[in-house]
């Protein structure tokens, strides 16, 4: 029972991280039917944005009040990167064959990784560390430090922070999508872009908003990851991005709540597989195998994902 409760906590933590990143894949897909494979790098850039903010303004200061400003720095870095990426790389390919933006995404992905790896310590005016290896991430007070103990279940502070981030971001996202004018515009574009234009909705602007929303959540995830793992590196976006994409497909690509459900499901399955699958195929070396096995099983029996894809209805 304790083992189950422990894996529940671990799974929800991991799942929250996947969910925060997965929203970015699904929002963009829902609007432009584009798989932005460079989204994992937006998450990585968020972590580095937070670190840079800390190094520039707060070096050595681990007080809790610094955290919101680090998150702000992360969001600015991620959103700027995502918006530029859309403008420079994707928009010119809007009417190109599907394969073109996909290849572009891989290119952007490698470009961003290499840019951080090679040039992070060469940024002029600032004394940033070399990012060719792991870089320590500031361990902010209150959200890191001694874990809570609930009976035999250990709950890391950073885990609570991560889950809390998902809860707050989901609430914010719900409000944005359902209660704001721009959110309504997004829904209209995702259901029928041409008719949305007839309503006076600027589709180009909505696409930029979709990229920005996804980047914001990925940036928050980048900070959460830095606090959990205690360090960050230029490659961290690859596997996290792949898992989050899996989560988005699992939940139903294009469906925002599907990304949240898919992320949590994937995290829980991984955590439970580590604990409860016995013998050779159990334990953490096999957890990715079980994660992708789950994806394949769901796609065979329910190709539209758990909650069902909300793709554009073309009349």
């Amino acid at each position: 029972m304790d083992a189950f409760a422990q894996q529940l906590v671990n799974g929800l933590t991991l799942g929250s991280l996947y969910a925060l990143i997965a929203v970015g894949y699904t929002v963009v897909y829902g609007i432009v039917q584009l798989i932005n494979f460079a989204h994992g790098e937006i998450f990585m850039i968020g972590a580095f944005g937070a670190l840079s903010t800390w190094l520039i303004f707060f070096d050595g200061n681990l007080a809790l009040w610094v955290l919101p400003l680090m998150i702000l720095g992360a969001v600015i870095a991620s959103v700027t990167t995502a918006v530029l990426m859309e403008r420079i790389a994707y928009r010119p390919l809007r009417h190109a064959p599907r394969l073109a933006p996909l290849i572009t995404a891989i290119g952007i992905s490698i470009f961003l990784q290499e840019a951080v790896r090679l040039f992070y310590d060469e940024v002029p005016f600032f004394d940033f560390p070399d990012a060719k290896q792991r870089v320590p991430f500031p361990q902010i007070e209150v959200v890191t430090g001694p874990a809570f103990q609930l009976g035999n279940v250990t709950i890391q502070r950073s885990a609570l922070f991560t889950i809390g981030c998902l809860v707050m971001c989901s609430a914010g996202l719900w409000y944005f999508v359902n209660r704001t004018r721009t959110g309504k515009g997004m829904q209209a574009v995702s259901q029928d872009p041409d008719t949305a234009r007839l309503m006076g909705i600027n589709v180009d602007r909505i696409i930029v908003v979709a990229f920005a929303v996804g980047a914001t959540l990925a940036a928050v995830a980048g900070v959460a990851q830095g606090l959990q793992v205690t360090n960050i590196n230029f490659r961290m976006g690859f596997l996290a991005g792949l898992k989050a994409f899996t989560a988005a497909v699992l939940g139903g690509i294009g469906n925002v709540w599907g990304a949240v459900v898919g992320g949590l499901t994937l995290g829980l399955v991984e955590a439970m597989a580590v604990q409860f699958i016995p013998g050779t195929f159990g334990g953490s070396p096999w957890k990715d195998v079980w994660a992708f096995a789950l994806l394949i099983i769901v796609l065979v029996f329910r190709p539209q994902g758990i909650l069902g894809a909300k793709v554009v209805d073309r009349a």
Binding site: Q187, A188, Q191, D194, M199, G200, V203, K310
Partner: protein
């Protein structure tokens, strides 16, 4: 007075296919003008070009003395030109009320709530079902919603693309009566119809389109009594 909408030598192509081959027509304030023609004549293409969803290869479109040939689609509705597209194209997973409010997306004034009431007064069924997802509606109800949504932008000119398509005779009559009501309330209408009889009966002016060209034009009454029209579109021999 110059016409409200003036289309001149309009040519539109899909790649190599020339769908509209240099047509000219105009719509004056207060009129109901109808474009009739068989399948594939280029009626929808014409409307989509006027509202900016398609770009013409040549020709010009003027609306209220402004050249709108290259104005982006999302800026057209603000000028007072609304388009209720072929196939209704309501947003299926949004509620009736959300669909209507999207019709007013471009408006910044405070009278949207009044106009919502006006739309409900025009089609009471929409108010009864205002929280229902629009995708669950029948064809006729979706058509009412599509027209209500277009009216929510407070258009001076309303373009309707085959509003009676696929409807029961009763519902068709209902929709056509609404066209007249809207005209009486001061909206100018450009109506595309396959149901030539019903359209011409209400039209002040009509144009007959055949494979991308206008082959006949005249007042509604003239066209209704024209032998060519009667043979080709009203099923008489």
């Amino acid at each position: 007075m110059s016409p409200m909408l003036e289309v001149k030598d309009l040519e539109v192509a899909y790649g190599k296919i020339r769908a509209v081959k240099g047509i000219s027509f105009d719509v004056n304030e207060g009129e109901v003008v109808t474009l009739i023609g068989t399948n594939g004549a280029g009626k929808t293409t014409t409307l989509r070009t006027i509202s900016g969803l398609l770009r013409p290869s040549s020709g010009s479109i003027r609306f209220k003395d402004q050249d709108i040939t290259t104005v982006p689609a999302h800026d057209i509705v603000q000028l007072g030109l609304a388009h209720s597209p072929e196939g209704r194209r309501i947003f299926p997973r949004l509620s009736v009320q959300e669909n209507l409010l999207l019709g007013a997306f471009a408006r910044k004034d405070k009278e949207v709530t009044n106009d919502l009431q006006a739309a409900y007064a025009l089609f009471p069924i929409l108010e009864e079902r205002r929280n229902q997802p629009a995708g669950t509606f029948s064809g006729g109800e979706q058509q009412m919603l599509a027209m209500g949504r277009a009216m929510m932008s407070r258009p001076q000119l309303l373009m309707l693309d085959e509003p009676s398509m696929g409807l029961s005779p009763l519902m068709m009559k209902r929709i056509m009566t609404t066209v007249t009501t809207l005209q009486q309330q001061g909206t100018t209408i450009l109506l595309v119809e396959q149901n030539a009889q019903a359209a011409l009966k209400r039209a002040t002016k009509g144009y007959v389109l055949e494979v991308g060209s206008i082959v006949l034009s005249g007042t509604g009454a003239e066209l209704l009594s024209s032998d060519d029209v009667r043979k080709a579109y009203l099923g008489e021999s």
